[in-house]
Symmetry: D2
Subunit: 341 residues, 4 copies
Amino acid sequence: MKAAVVGGSGYVGGELLRLLLGHPEIELTQVTSDSMAGRAIGRAHPNLRRATDLVFAPHAELRPADVTFLASPHGESLERVPSLLDAGALVIDLSADYRLKDPAVYEQYYHRPHPHPELLARSVYGLPELHREAVRSASLISVPGCIATASILALHPLAAAGFVDRPPTVVDAKSGSSAGGIDPGPAGTHAERSGSLRAYASAGHRHTAEIEQETGLTIALTCHAVEAVRGVLATVHALSSQPPEEKGLWRAYRAAYGSEPFVRIVHEPDGTHREPDPKILAGTNYCDVGFGTDPHGGRVVAYAALDNLGKGAAGAAVQCLNVRAGFAETAGLGFLGLHPV
Amino acid sequence: MKAAVVGGSGYVGGELLRLLLGHPEIELTQVTSDSMAGRAIGRAHPNLRRATDLVFAPHAELRPADVTFLASPHGESLERVPSLLDAGALVIDLSADYRLKDPAVYEQYYHRPHPHPELLARSVYGLPELHREAVRSASLISVPGCIATASILALHPLAAAGFVDRPPTVVDAKSGSSAGGIDPGPAGTHAERSGSLRAYASAGHRHTAEIEQETGLTIALTCHAVEAVRGVLATVHALSSQPPEEKGLWRAYRAAYGSEPFVRIVHEPDGTHREPDPKILAGTNYCDVGFGTDPHGGRVVAYAALDNLGKGAAGAAVQCLNVRAGFAETAGLGFLGLHPV
Amino acid sequence: MKAAVVGGSGYVGGELLRLLLGHPEIELTQVTSDSMAGRAIGRAHPNLRRATDLVFAPHAELRPADVTFLASPHGESLERVPSLLDAGALVIDLSADYRLKDPAVYEQYYHRPHPHPELLARSVYGLPELHREAVRSASLISVPGCIATASILALHPLAAAGFVDRPPTVVDAKSGSSAGGIDPGPAGTHAERSGSLRAYASAGHRHTAEIEQETGLTIALTCHAVEAVRGVLATVHALSSQPPEEKGLWRAYRAAYGSEPFVRIVHEPDGTHREPDPKILAGTNYCDVGFGTDPHGGRVVAYAALDNLGKGAAGAAVQCLNVRAGFAETAGLGFLGLHPV
Amino acid sequence: MKAAVVGGSGYVGGELLRLLLGHPEIELTQVTSDSMAGRAIGRAHPNLRRATDLVFAPHAELRPADVTFLASPHGESLERVPSLLDAGALVIDLSADYRLKDPAVYEQYYHRPHPHPELLARSVYGLPELHREAVRSASLISVPGCIATASILALHPLAAAGFVDRPPTVVDAKSGSSAGGIDPGPAGTHAERSGSLRAYASAGHRHTAEIEQETGLTIALTCHAVEAVRGVLATVHALSSQPPEEKGLWRAYRAAYGSEPFVRIVHEPDGTHREPDPKILAGTNYCDVGFGTDPHGGRVVAYAALDNLGKGAAGAAVQCLNVRAGFAETAGLGFLGLHPV
């Protein structure tokens, strides 16, 4: 299958190229980037030195492919998606442009009307754990945000089991520096970010809308920048008038994820790694979920850890392609992750 | 004033020595440590090389002083405090042994009956922002836990203003590696801890009891280990049926802390450091507090950042001494902190 | 081909297991560890959760396999190797026990006579870039030390081209924390190691002997601990009475490594990654080498970066197996590395 | 004494402000910054919140003071120094503009003729350990580069004792991210810099000229970027045909620095901190020096660690002022540093 990547010079684009170059069913035919046009892929992504002879093409020279991935900044997909769909390609969009179903919610969170509201209904939210069947026949797949994926996967079994009965559901998210992209501005230099531990969004973060859309719950989301390069940890504090015992939580999570290839339940009695930690997930497509009960506090605590560039972006995109194209769902996603790292 | 430090070879002890050596009113007369007995202070605390000629003494050789600081591990103060009080010394205990007022709560969280419940009433909780008058006449001061201090200082103005009207109050705490002490075990090696981002206590953390004691609220506390050496950030999600506007929050925090020497309100409209970040507080006695409102989610978010070895331990101990002894409250605590670091 | 791993619970063992589990020609039949006997592999190596059903076996239960890897601590291979060789297995030893050819040099650096000096001659130094033919027929392969591999690969082209004509050749090595193993002691806690930058061996480091053995040069090696989890950078200052121009250096390195699958020459005119950096090599078997000339200072500077657990240990072991067994040399070693990470 | 700081919004400027605000003999009267003009000091330097009411002034409004510190970028002092000197002020320049004595060497390293070569002779190199007497009567003091200070202080006792008798003297320097300034470009983002370990100058670094000027030796300097925010470690490999024993090294270093207030000899028999580590020096004016001998390799190894913003810049500037003004040399420089941090 021939694949093209639009906007391949950023961090999400680089991770996507790495995965596609190692994918047994994919031939990577083109990578566009206006800023890097004419330069070798390895100049933007030093880990890909020698791995390909491709050179970045200017976006204007984009050619049709069986599947086109859009890894360009938010907003740029708004107009690219319709023309690519018209040309008959399968489109997998890694931006936020087509994730929300309700145009009013889009406008509320992105502060402009959506230019193609009719396509929002057509877009499939690219979370196979919730929408595998819809992904199989989608023409437009919109890959979820990294914090949204973690939050939804932590919450979904709790919501499905009826454990969450009091709003709001508090999500306290922590993310690493690569989530800020390749040009993070003054707050993203090493001297400023190293060892820091600070909130950057008390409320109103855009992923709130995605989590509410997918879980049906009222979400109170706060996001923090912590020291890590890759990684998101979503800590969910789900209020429950009768918090279940651990046994009930195990049952709920096993029911939801027992046969999922990329969701692992991590909740061990002892050891360093008894709850999920994104540290060991860099480069993988895993989302590790864990939990604890707090009868005293009247809540269930749930965790989900992932690599914001992996299951939180490029990995999820490849997983969706695998489902859509009928490949093995794990094709090209076999990297187990490193420990320690 | 002559001061002795019991248990001076750990991280809290080392920070206390640094502060006392630079304190204009204090003469440090003795430091005990059985494990380091006979060795120079600088061998345990390389930053104190040249700063003192003192040598660690075995604990059995402890001599009376005007004030005795206990920086030994939790549990060791239980029996040391009574005998020191009998000897007439002012005792400032940095362990958890005398923080809780209610013996039943102590037993619930520490899994043993308190051997001297009558002294719990006599002990003053060493948070001058809430108990300055009591500190002035105390004979036994119990320095709060680092996560407790941050959580209480974030919550106190909200509780005082009546903004928190629905339980539980969720506290999502993040702390750096020095909070694990000088011998943190297998989870605390650099290879395991670097870049990690994981919960180590979903519920039941002992500081829960302190926060509930001081705020009167039901607390749902979860603690995380993040990559940083010094620093705690407590993110408080306080449920509120009618979350106040920012203006009301400013008013509440200014009323509480407008004249406090060590609590700064940090909530700026832009810039990297618009909310509290413990990164810039290493070595200081500051607690920076900030906030945000979330009408959609039905809560107020509040933050408090501090240095777990500073305002979260040794700095608070010195501040309490200053209040108790009638020194300037800022004496010996003038370090402004570094940026960047 | 059936493979067993002795001493599989440490960091080198874990990386080896990861590589062998993904190797297309290998069936991993047994992993021993006395300390973890009876526990699942994933309890020691959380990245391998779900990847295997194997359980650690006590060493006494080791069964024959086609190839046995020894990943136990230095010293333990001394007696294990002879008995395994007697049993007819191919042995790949990742310890330092059989790396040196000269028993006198072994005794000088390890402070004891070698108990099986006759086997030192039989052991092949597992650096295919220098000894590929010998590896093809070896029964005992001794995998080089991580700092040695980097230093030798940086120096080899310079020595071969005759550019180094004045002793000593200064090697200034920097390594990350995982090189200290899973139990690094008090200097290896996160609080002590984070952000540190210090020498731990001014002279006399044991890898000196390996580098001298393989290059024939007099080596002056100093080793530093820096903040990184995985990674070694060897900076070689090779004294030269007539330092060649860049062109001559390119020629020398291309001659040495132009067809090597795992040595990349990295020396770009601009950009962040213009010289080798181990940061992007975590999990890979690459050694990136670079260089600069300094006519003013009378030397050539050369760099080699690698993952101390990859090309510096487990990756090299698998590469040697591939050469020995006639597999594709890159089999099981296809991971390209992450950027950023 | 009234002090003004020109260019106070960068990292060196911020550290200088912190030190001057805490200096018992100094009244800080003005801080200029065109980019931050009109904003409070605390907006650029969050650690200085509340510590001063000063607001950045545009440079054009600079008023005379008893001492003017120039903390603006290299090149900007070239024309500012002459006019300030004409106005009769004491000038302490933290840029590289007036460090070199020989105009030809300046042109060689800075690629332009020096516009005021006559002032180079008048400028005093601000290293009190070598030039205390000259500093006492200087009108223009040029603060050394951070790598130069470390290298010179490591080398000076060796050169003075005649231990270095073969060129070149190899200096392998490692520095943290704050040395790259507040706007470090694409290589300085957290995602790129975190955990990295790479050379950025194989040869030809400008500090080479300073080290050669002050030691009279031929220097072969290579510089590396490592993960740390503050800190420089210079590892000096000094070739010696008869390397002295440790005893001789102790003697040489004690002779040089036995009575220096800010140079500590660190070379202990055991423990984590047995050689210098800049980690514990953040915020201090110390330079810790250590050493080792290598008869096998024919060299002495020497180390010097410092805070690039402290003894490597702002701390040295204040120390020079203290010497020049007749204050206690340690005035305002009493911070002992933190451990751990």
